[in-house]
Amino acid sequence: MLSPADLATLPFDDWVNTFVRGWLVPNFRPFFRATQVPISAVLDWLDTLFRWLPMLVTTALFALASWKWAGRGMAIFTVLGFAFIDMIGLWPETMTTLAMVVTAVLFCAVIGIPAGIVSARSNLFWRILRPVLDVMQTIPSFVYLVPIVMLFGVGMAPGIIATIVFALPPIVRLTNLGIRNVRGDLIEAAEAFGSTGWQMLWDLQLPLAMRTIMAGLNQTLMLAMSMVVISALIGAGGLGLIVNTGLGRLDVGGATAGGVGIVILAIVLDRITQGLAEQNNVSRMSLRQTLSNVFRLRGTAALAGVEKAG
């Protein structure tokens, strides 16, 4: 059978190598290095803060947040879960992971919400951005780990950059969706009263899209959690490193301990942000109900991340 390969072969891999190694890295390395400065700054600050706060204080704060936004059952789960993490000796790593995830989500929000707003206002921009987001979501993260190491080096900040690439799409998509879904007659009314584009955004579009944007933030957070182990491959520490070390030494117990820490943290963060997004008074659930809910967890992304690494 004739196949196109008989006529011509494309050295696609060479092209990419030439592009990245021959042009992008030599010319832009200093630029990319510079971009990680704000990320490192935020990360260091958060990492120092979370490690400085006593374990009991942090647990109390998270339990209160859970109580307020996710119900009493979830608050109890938070206390028990965090105590478990502390007792298996992974508290400092957990705090490092928390600092990484919060940093990644912060930067995703800073980049993603404005990008979503622009997408909602310009069909052209959205047409260009959409395939980019599709690629970001579908491309296996191992593919961009190598160029990221080449451009940014190894360490915490490059790990967060890889996390941002992976976790950014949902917040952009849902910000765009939320703003586009604001009722047309309300927009028309704002326009008829002579409001400017900015006034419309602040008074109307952002408040009315807030629920959807928060749902996007929740999704982004879950994706960021699932990148914890992968980004540890390029030098990011925390629980991901524990899992990777366990894998390398065939230490099943160590890897599992790290994995459980990730899952507990993921559940707590997911429930708190979901509650924030819904902002309604959560009925007080019992611990049993909470636990059964937890295992019907919609956002199993964290588990998927652990499996992927394994």
Partner: protein, 408 residues
């Protein structure tokens, strides 16, 4: 006087092929032909009208007739494809974004069919919206919002959310929001269309009451002819993007421009459209102290009238009928006076009384006196004319003659 709002030769064509379609339109092709040929949709076709200050100008048409498009061109929400829209002499169609914004903030506001209240703000915040975007400080705009809410009877709900209010109340908030910025022109896009009939009626009345003190220039869109006839100083009827007739309620009912309008007005409650003013005729009167019974009888015989109004100086003293006078002359030939046969309990109306209210008075057989606020006789309404108009027998010609005969 310069009209408040002057619309001339405005066209709106939707779609990419607008210029080509516009050209075809001007050559008289129909909406359907243009859609088939160019794919462009004709929204409004050659609309021209003036709206005077303080007038309620109603645009009536069925859905798809282009009335909503037309009203949105008046504040630039939809830019016209061609034509001119002057507000106080300033062309909206050619205003840039900043000027358009200024005009919307200062001169023109809009009230929507589905209220379009902002669900995350309280009633007072909604009402103050127009002031907020122009940078009025918080306390001042809240005070103004409460004032306007007072006018529409909702001051007690200032701090509720719109979702706590019924449809009629929500539209009052919409109206208050439109009034708060003190615009000259109100555009009302089927404002009562989403309300149930009883509330709609109540809101129509309230709008008329408010308008008596506010004297805004109102462009009111509706698909309901009864509403149009009731509210409109003048009415434009639209069909397929075109204005087929502009006129007062009476003109439209008595002289429909074409079969389309005629079909519309066929089952209209004529009693509510026509007023005493439309059916009255010049009064022939006699003076109580100067006219003799004999002269009165002779006048009635000559004019073919059954009754005459009797004036005492300027004031209406009463009415005398031929039958009574003739009888009293026979009985007491020498002492007969008008005074003896005078009926002082006569029916009266003012020029704006509608025919449905005159109907019961017409049953007495006496002509109805049309008086002004100082009880001076302006004209009389013959009972037969009331009945003829209610049944629609009066031809346009007759109507015209009567209009000319009216004392103004």
């Amino acid at each position: 006087m310069q009209p408040k709002l002057a619309v001339s030769q405005v066209y709106k064509v939707f779609g990419d092929a607008a210029p080509a379609a516009l050209d075809l339109l001007r050559r008289g092709r129909s909406k359907q032909e243009i859609l088939a040929e160019t794919g462009a949709t004709v929204g409004v076709r050659d609309a021209s009208f003036d709206v005077q200050e303080g007038e309620i100008f109603v645009v009536m048409g069925l859905s798809g007739s282009g009335k909503s498009t037309l009203v949105r061109m008046l504040n630039g929400l939809i830019p016209p494809t061609s034509g001119q829209i002057l507000i106080d002499g300033e062309d909206i169609a050619r205003a840039d974004a900043a000027r358009l914004r200024r005009i919307r903030r200062e001169k023109i506001s809009m009230i929507f069919q589905h209220f379009a209240l902002f669900p995350h703000w309280t009633v007072a915040e909604n009402v103050a919206y127009g002031l907020k975007i122009t940078g009025v400080p918080h306390d001042e705009r809240r005070a103004r919002a409460l004032d306007v809410l007072e006018q529409v009877g909702l001051a007690a709900w200032a701090d509720s959310l719109p979702s706590d209010l019924s449809g009629g109340m929500q539209q009052r908030v919409g109206l208050a929001r439109g009034l708060a910025a003190e615009p000259d022109i109100l555009l009302m896009d089927e404002p009562f269309g989403a309300l149930d009939p009883l509330i709609r009626r109540e809101m129509q009345m309230e709008l008329l009451t408010l308008q008596r003190t506010l004297k805004k220039t109102i462009v009111f869109i509706t698909h309901d002819l009864n509403e149009a006839l009731m509210l409109g100083s003048r009415i434009a009827i639209m069909k397929d993007g075109q204005i087929v007739q502009i006129g007062t309620a009476q003109e439209i009912v008595t002289a429909p421009a074409d079969d389309y309008v005629a079909a519309f007005v066929a089952d209209i409650d004529r009693g509510r459209v026509f007023t005493a003013d439309d059916v009255s005729s010049d009064a022939t009167t006699i003076q109580l102290r100067q006219t003799s019974v004999r002269d009165a009888l002779r006048m009635m015989e000559r004019g073919g009238a059954n009754a005459l109004y009797v004036l005492d100086g300027d004031r209406v003293a009463g009415v005398v009928t031929y039958r009574d006078l003739a009888a009293s002359e026979m009985d007491t030939a020498i002492t007969a006076s008008l005074q003896g046969s005078l009926i002082t309990d006569f029916p009266t109306a003012d020029t704006t009384t509608c025919l449905s209210d005159l109907y019961s008075d017409a049953g007495s057989g006496l002509p109805i006196a049309v008086t002004d606020e100082r009880d001076r006789l302006l004209a009389v309404v013959e009972p037969a004319d009331v009945l003829a108009h209610l049944s629609g027998d009066a031809t346009p010609q007759e109507q015209q003659e009567q209009t000319y005969a009216q004392p103004r």
